[in-house]
């Protein structure tokens, strides 16, 4: 009730004082420039700020785990909406949000619904669903019948990408009675792009011709490796549409709707439709998808695109249950 009053009061005052609606994003230690969820979220926040004159957006970057609580607190003190990015912030958000009941909190890439805090909305993504389609595409496109996967640190999002990718390949094998194999490697970090590159080259040398990197900045090395390797070798991007980073060499990108989630979350808060809780965005919600394949549409045979579209429809309708864990994959 009190909160509603506050919101009403704010809304009434807006035309009079043109008081700004402040959105503060707190990055995790990856910081801006990670070409992944920090950048994607920031893009979403910026879109709102560009769209509405009275929305101001700012960002605080965190240096270490210990910064999350103070940074979220500071952000809460000066803003109407705080966007917390990255799964490592889950505990900090749980700690901070109840202290600032008048501020909306949006969490990206983790689920805090179990805590039942009324001013927190979190989003996660069904990475395995988009990876599933990417895996199918890779399986179908592979000449060598071997495809690769490179992960950063095996955190949930990365593992879901891996499982979904493997499931996609398995699906292709089943449908076309093939035996495409998946090579899997982990760089154990999200920043060492040279390592990403050498690991990709290693997988190419072991017969893979398409490598999917779900490893943050390491993926930049994967693209470089694909470029250098030349004809017949491809990479697959992750998180955001990375196709333009190596036009024609990145078959597709397994995108998460980070930007959209951030945009929707902030917009809801701005327009007064904020609902607490959690949303897991999958194919069905258009929360994850493959990129539009701007540069590769022409090299991918039509039948593959058609089959992918079919699988996507089936997944949306719940006719395929895409696995998200190792056990589910085995059963799949």
């Amino acid at each position: 009730m009190k909160r509603l009053l506050t919101v009403l009061l704010v809304l009434m005052l807006v035309p009079v004082f043109a008081m700004a609606f402040t959105v503060t994003m707190v990055t995790d230690t990856g910081g801006l420039g990670d070409q992944s969820f920090n950048d994607g979220t920031w893009r979403g926040v910026e879109m709102i700020a560009e769209e509405f004159d009275d929305v101001e957006a700012q960002v605080i970057q965190s240096n270490e785990q210990a910064d999350y609580v103070p940074n979220l607190s500071k952000a809460a003190e000066m803003s109407d909406v705080v966007v917390a990015v990255g799964f490592l912030m889950v505990d900090a958000l749980e700690q901070v949000a109840p202290q600032y009941p008048d501020v909306y909190f949006i969490g990206i890439d983790f689920d805090l619904s179990a805590a039942g805090i009324p001013n927190v909305k979190t989003y996660t993504f069904k990475e395995h669903e988009t990876a599933f389609l990417a895996g199918f595409l890779a399986g179908a496109m592979s000449e060598s019948k071997i495809v690769g996967f490179i992960g950063g640190i095996p955190v949930p999002a990365v593992v879901k990408f891996q499982i979904g990718y493997q499931a996609g390949v398995k699906m292709y094998n089943k449908l076309h009675n093939e035996n495409v194999q998946v090579l899997i490697g982990y760089t154990q970090n999200f920043t060492d792009s040279q390592k990403g590159k050498t690991m990709t080259e290693a997988q190419y040398s072991q017969g893979a011709d398409i490598v999917f990197a779900a490893a943050g900045l390491c993926g930049l090395g994967t693209f470089e490796a694909a470029k250098e390797k030349g004809e017949g070798y491809y990479a697959i991007g992750v998180d955001v549409d990375q196709d333009h980073l190596a036009p024609g060499k990145i078959l597709t990108s397994a995108m998460k709707g980070i930007t959209a989630a951030a945009y929707m979350g902030v917009l809801d808060a701005y327009e007064g439709y904020f609902t607490a809780g959690h949303e897991e965005l999958g194919l069905e919600e258009n929360g994850v998808q493959l990129s539009e394949m701007k540069y590769t549409k022409d090299i991918i045979p039509q039948w593959i695109l058609v089959e992918i579209a079919g699988l996507k429809a089936m997944a949306k309708d719940g006719e395929i249950d895409i696995p998200a864990t190792e056990d589910e994959l085995k059963a799949f």
Binding site: G33, G185, S193, T198, M199, E201, Y204, L217
Partner: protein, 319 residues
């Protein structure tokens, strides 16, 4: 038996060798750099920072002048500048060399992170720019084992190998090298013979800047065509370890870097080898391989290494 087969697979794979070389290259540049500095008696643990500056300046030069070659030059200039700072403090002001170097690492991390936004317009990483093209040895026959092994390498790889020979030559075959050893072992003796201790030490430290920055430039303009924050990822420290492991000789540094590169390449080959049915949750443990091997080599096979006698000891001119 699978693991043995997987290891043999790796050795049979020509790319294993080219990956060994490309993993060893940045380390080798920095190791040789550290070697020059320490041979003259100035420790330089700032290699990590100098590499990072080199990587950044390499891309900066490429972005400003459109040529990665100019990027390399700029990288070397920035590396020399950082080294000059270290030299100035530790030679002329007899500063604690470890502290001064620690400061330079921090400065490099702070400065490159800070400058990304004002210079390239966004934090974290830059756009992709041109990089130095690889040297293709077409005569080996594209696709042949030998071609896959060494047929397509960055010029940096050759440069690093050449620099091993050049460094060996400078240190052991020239007048300058004789003076470098003398200053690193007994600066007072050198001083009494009219050899400029400060001059030789400045040379050594500046060389470490030039070489280590090349190692950094290799990562940015040689491998990726872009700079990302903290992209050296501790390679400078590994290079330092390689230099010590190599007992302060160019040849030793070469072997130590190759060992590390090979261990790293082996890790990559083993992780992805499908014949080893390893659950993905255990794969990260493979990344331990290079470090464990180095530790074993250091402890078991090399034992005591001997640093130049005056390494790390500031020299104060008399009078």
């Amino acid at each position: 038996m699978n693991i043995l087969k997987a290891i043999l697979d790796a050795f049979a794979n020509p790319i294993f060798y080219s990956l060994t070389l490309s993993a060893a290259t940045p380390l080798l540049f920095a190791s040789l750099g550290g070697l020059f500095s320490e041979k003259t008696g100035v420790t330089n643990i700032a290699l990590e920072g100098i590499m990072l500056l080199g990587a950044f300046s390499g891309i900066l030069g490429t972005a400003l002048f459109g040529s990665p070659w100019i990027g390399i030059i700029l990288a070397m200039i920035s590396g020399a500048a950082a080294a000059a700072l270290h030299a100035w403090a530790s030679i002329n002001f007899q500063a604690n060399q470890i502290v001064s170097a620690t400061a330079i690492i921090l400065l490099a991390q702070g400065l490159t992170g800070f400058l990304l936004e004002p210079v390239f317009g966004k934090p974290g990483s830059t756009e992709i720019y041109d990089k130095i093209p690889k040297i293709e040895l077409k005569f080996l026959g594209k696709g042949s084992f030998l071609y896959n092994m060494i047929g397509s390498l960055s010029p940096f790889v050759y440069l690093a190998l050449i620099l091993v020979v050049v460094s060996w030559f400078i240190i052991y075959k020239t007048k300058l090298g004789l003076r470098i050893i003398a200053v690193g072992e007994n600066p007072e003796a050198a001083d009494t013979l009219g050899v400029s201790v400060y001059g030789i030490r400045w040379f050594g430290v500046l060389m470490s800047g030039l070489l280590a920055s090349l190692g950094g430039a290799y990562l940015s303009v040689g491998e990726l065509g872009q700079f990302t924050e903290n992209m050296t990822n501790g390679k400078g420290f590994i290079a330092l370890a390689a230099m010590i492991l190599g007992n302060w000789t160019p040849k030793g540094a070469l072997f130590a870097c190759l060992l590390f590169g090979a261990a790293d390449a082996m890790n990559e080959q083993l992780q992805s080898n499908p014949s080893l049915a390893i659950p993905s949750s255990a794969k990260p443990l493979f990344n331990l391989i290079p470090f464990v091997i180095t530790l074993i080599v250091v402890a078991g096979f090399v034992g005591k290494t001997r640093s130049p006698a005056a390494d790390g000891v500031p020299y104060e001119k008399k009078g």
